[in-house]
């Protein structure tokens, strides 16, 4: 065994000793999941790849600003800024700094979204899916036509093939960019030994330059708002195969008072139960609901007209209204009902 290998094993052994207490915890999460949601290997792999790519893009952009605009000449930063190997991810990965609820929730939603997109592409061709938005380009309301064009342009900038998650900095929600940019800045400062102030300024410039309105999600939200405001009887209920996945989710979210992320997350749950309740609450006719379910389901489960028809709409509305409450309230309510078994809901 050569000297380098020996050093490596010693380094890894030392690192492992520091983390050994978490092994049982990690294994427990795998053995005893608290939900029935199934995360397949593809989802895990996609999520990891996506997170790595996001961190990489943010890191590269900060280094680019620091070296090009702020005159920092440190070698590591120059190399990363010019497309060299990223360094932050490895440091942040095991630090727990990326294991934040908002980041993990975003990863889950993006991963599930790519699952849905892949399922949809088994039922409709990429070309047909891309042409769904063009029908709004001639809309009589210029604001709708303009918003549709905006979404089309934003979508065309998004990279990534079918079944793969596209990680584009412009498409990231501001809260996620913020949550990742500062840990990356700290990691870069530690890795490069560069002046902290300059790196902080570079991060601030990155954040200030981020335009949420240019992202696909917000473009879809705005188009959904305009379409729902001027909803006509010709097209009262959106469909993923007619509107495309992003716009369909945005319109359903708007109709139900939930967020697009919630709608996507519901589709990952067993039998898409909450998703079906959302459709029922929004009063989707049975044929539309069945067709949407078939377009988005993985094929393991079946929704029948009888099952959907028997769902009580008032009850569905009440449930959706409860899910639309702020997260903090829902979490508090859940904790309180667990701590006080005599309380409502038990």
């Amino acid at each position: 065994m050569d000297r380098t290998k020996q050093n490596d094993i010693i380094r890894r052994a030392g690192a492992m000793a520091g983390k050994a207490c978490f092994v049982a915890e990690d294994f427990a999460h795998v053995l005893f999941p608290r939900t029935d949601v199934v995360f397949n290997d593809r989802m895990r792999s996609n999520a990891r790849q996506y997170l790595r790519s996001v961190v990489r893009q943010i890191e590269m952009r900060i280094c680019e600003i620091a070296t090009r605009d702020l005159g920092v000449t440190q070698e590591t930063l120059l190399s990363i800024g010019q497309g060299g190997d990223g360094r932050s991810f490895a440091l942040l990965e095991h630090s727990g700094l990326l294991n934040k609820p908002e980041i993990v929730q975003h990863l889950f939603v993006k991963t599930q979204q790519s699952e849905l997109a892949a399922r949809l592409l088994q039922k409709i061709s990429q070309e047909d899916l891309e042409s769904t938005l063009t029908r709004h380009l001639d809309h009589e309301d210029p604001a709708v036509a303009e918003a549709a064009m905006g979404l089309l342009v934003a979508q065309s900038k998004t990279t990534g093939s079918a079944g793969e998650i596209a990680a584009t900095l412009a498409d990231l929600p501001p809260e996620i960019v913020y949550a990742i940019a500062w840990p990356v800045t700290a990691a870069l400062a530690r890795l490069s030994g560069s002046p902290v102030l300059r790196l902080q300024q570079a991060a601030e410039r990155l954040l200030a330059a981020h335009d949420e309105g240019a992202g696909v999600a917000r473009k879809a939200d705005r188009l959904a708002q305009l379409l729902e405001q001027g909803k006509t009887e010709q097209n009262p209920f959106p469909h993923p195969m007619k509107d495309g996945l992003t716009l369909f989710v945005a319109r359903l979210a708007r109709q139900s008072g939930l967020t697009s992320d919630q709608i996507v997350a519901f589709t990952a749950e067993p039998d898409m139960a909450r998703f079906i309740v959302v459709l029922r609450a929004a009063d989707y006719p049975v044929q539309d609901a069945l067709s949407i379910y078939v377009a988005l389901a993985s094929g393991d489960h079946i929704l029948t007209a009888a099952t959907y028809g028997e769902l009580d709409r008032d009850r569905s509305l009440a449930l959706v209204s409860r899910w639309a409450a702020p997260d903090a309230y829902q979490n508090a309510d859940r904790i309180l009902s667990r701590d006080y078994p005599g309380a409502d809901g038990q």
Binding site: A143, Y178, H210, D211, G213, R218, D221, R222, L226, Q234
Partner: protein, 462 residues
């Protein structure tokens, strides 16, 4: 009702680091002031102010939907924030791209009081129960004291379920939260009157079963049997409409109207425009027929020798407001404004509540029908010589002197047709007024509108 504002240019504003509104275009400034803000003060539109704070905290440009509300409407906007520079003390620019206003939904919600007036006008009672079928509100025709005594008691303690149904079957339906249809029940106390119950389960905001709302329609087989005996042997009976044809016709007509309205409102899906229009015609013809059946039933009732009316203590001003409320939508359709007496005042009279309301609804309905769009109908009250009077004045074509008595005759239309009237309303109204010890008269000059005055015996103010 919605009103979109097509923004040719985005609405712009500037907010400083402390959240003070430095400048704003007039549309946003007006909203800011109506939300309680001051010029140069903190931005008073809560969600907009929250978005500014978030944008500043993150140091990022946001683009999000925002909702605001003032006394008149709810506003949906699409807002973009722009930070001039990463410097935290620089003003933040707001740019509102879309602006859509919605009138408050409360305006469209049915007024429960109005629904109760409709029920009372039709002689129906209402019972509201909790989830355990305990009565929490009851408004039955007739004995008010009985209504009060029933509160808190179980529905099945107050009313007997009449076979062929049974308590068990009713309770089974309740356990399954099923609607209750045509359940016959008899009051256990008092006059032991019979009712036909229709019940709808109520679901509260949390989605839980909260009880039932029952509509109780009087259903007295003894009267029906007597009438059937009386008419036996006659081909066309004296009570053809009231007891036989009326009930038989009302149900199918009700279904025709409901289905035609569903079709015309396209609730079940898109429809060709002319088909929707035909369905509207069917609904309109159905309503006309139903009115005619009701008029003929009333006509028959008032011509019976044993016809009597109750001597309720009523307030004509309260009745005027209730009747106007029932016809508010119809008046609004014709942009007709109704001037009503001061609601704080009272004019006590003696007469049957339901019949007096029926007369006023007939008078105001006629006034709307024969008044030009955009005109005013005035309801005024007075009292003298032991009578309380309420007058309905319109700005229609008026009635020629020689026709002023004829209009109170049976089936008299003064040559009019196609306006939905049966020619029985005024005849019935006058007969009802007289049965209550009062009168119904008209004063009119051709071309200058008409004033119909209902007089009822005055009741001393308590």
């Amino acid at each position: 009702m919605t009103a979109a504002r097509k923004l040719s240019e985005p609405v712009r504003a500037e907010v400083d680091a402390d959240g003070l509104l430095l400048s704003a275009d007039p549309l946003l400034m007006r909203l800011h002031l109506r939300c309680g803000g001051k010029e140069g003060g903190p931005l008073a539109v809560p969600e907009l102010a929250g978005l500014c704070r978030l944008s500043r905290r993150l140091g990022m440009n946001l683009s999000r939907p925002v909702q605001a509300s003032d006394d008149d409407c709810r506003i949906e906007m699409w807002v973009e924030t722009r930070l001039a520079s990463p410097e935290k003390d620089q003003p933040l620019s707001l740019s509102i791209l879309d602006w859509k206003e919605y009138a408050h939904e409360e305006d469209d919600r049915p007024d429960p009081g109005r629904a109760r007036d409709f029920d009372r006008l039709e002689g129906r009672g209402v019972i509201r129960t909790d989830a355990a079928l305990r009565i929490i509100a009851q408004q039955m025709p007739g004995d008010a004291a009985r209504n009060f005594d029933a509160i808190g008691q179980s529905l099945v303690d107050i009313y007997d379920v009449i076979p062929p149904s049974a308590h068990a079957k009713l309770l089974e339906a309740v356990a399954e939260r099923q609607p209750i249809r045509n359940q016959r029940m008899r009051a256990k106390i008092g006059d032991q009157s019979l009712f036909l119950l229709q019940g709808q389960p109520l679901i509260d905001k949390a989605g839980l079963f909260a009880g039932y709302r029952f509509i109780a329609t009087p259903d007295d087989p003894e009267i029906r049997d007597q009438d059937i005996k009386r008419v036996s042997g006659k081909l066309i009976s004296d009570s053809l409409f009231g007891m036989q044809l009326g009930p038989a016709l009302r149900q199918p007509l009700g279904k025709i109207i409901a289905n035609a309205e569903t079709i015309s409102s396209k609730l079940e899906g898109p429809l060709r425009g002319d088909y929707a229009s035909y369905a509207k015609d069917i609904a309109s013809a159905g309503r006309h027929l139903l009115d005619l059946v009701n008029d003929l039933s009333d006509l028959e009732a008032i011509e019976r020798p044993e016809f009597t009316v109750a001597g309720d203590d009523i307030d004509l001003i309260d009745l005027a407001h209730r009747a106007a409320g029932l016809l508010a939508v119809k008046a609004a359709d014709h942009r007709i404004r109704m001037e009503l007496p001061d609601e704080q005042q009272k004019l006590p009279a003696s007469g049957e509540f339901r019949r007096s309301l029926q007369i006023l609804v007939n008078l105001i309905g006629n006034a709307i029908r024969y008044s030009p769009d955009g005109s005013v109908i005035k309801l005024s009250v007075s009292s003298d010589e032991g009578f309380a009077r309420i007058s309905v004045s319109d700005q229609g074509d008026g009635i020629a002197a020689e026709d002023q008595e004829r209009i109170f005759e049976k089936f008299e239309r003064l040559g009019r047709s196609g306006d939905g009237g049966s020619g029985l309303g005024l005849f019935i109204s006058r007969r009802l007024a007289r049965a209550m010890g009062g009168s119904l008269a008209v004063e009119s000059v051709a071309g200058k509108g008409s004033t119909f005055t209902l007089s009822l015996p005055e009741r001393k103010k308590s």
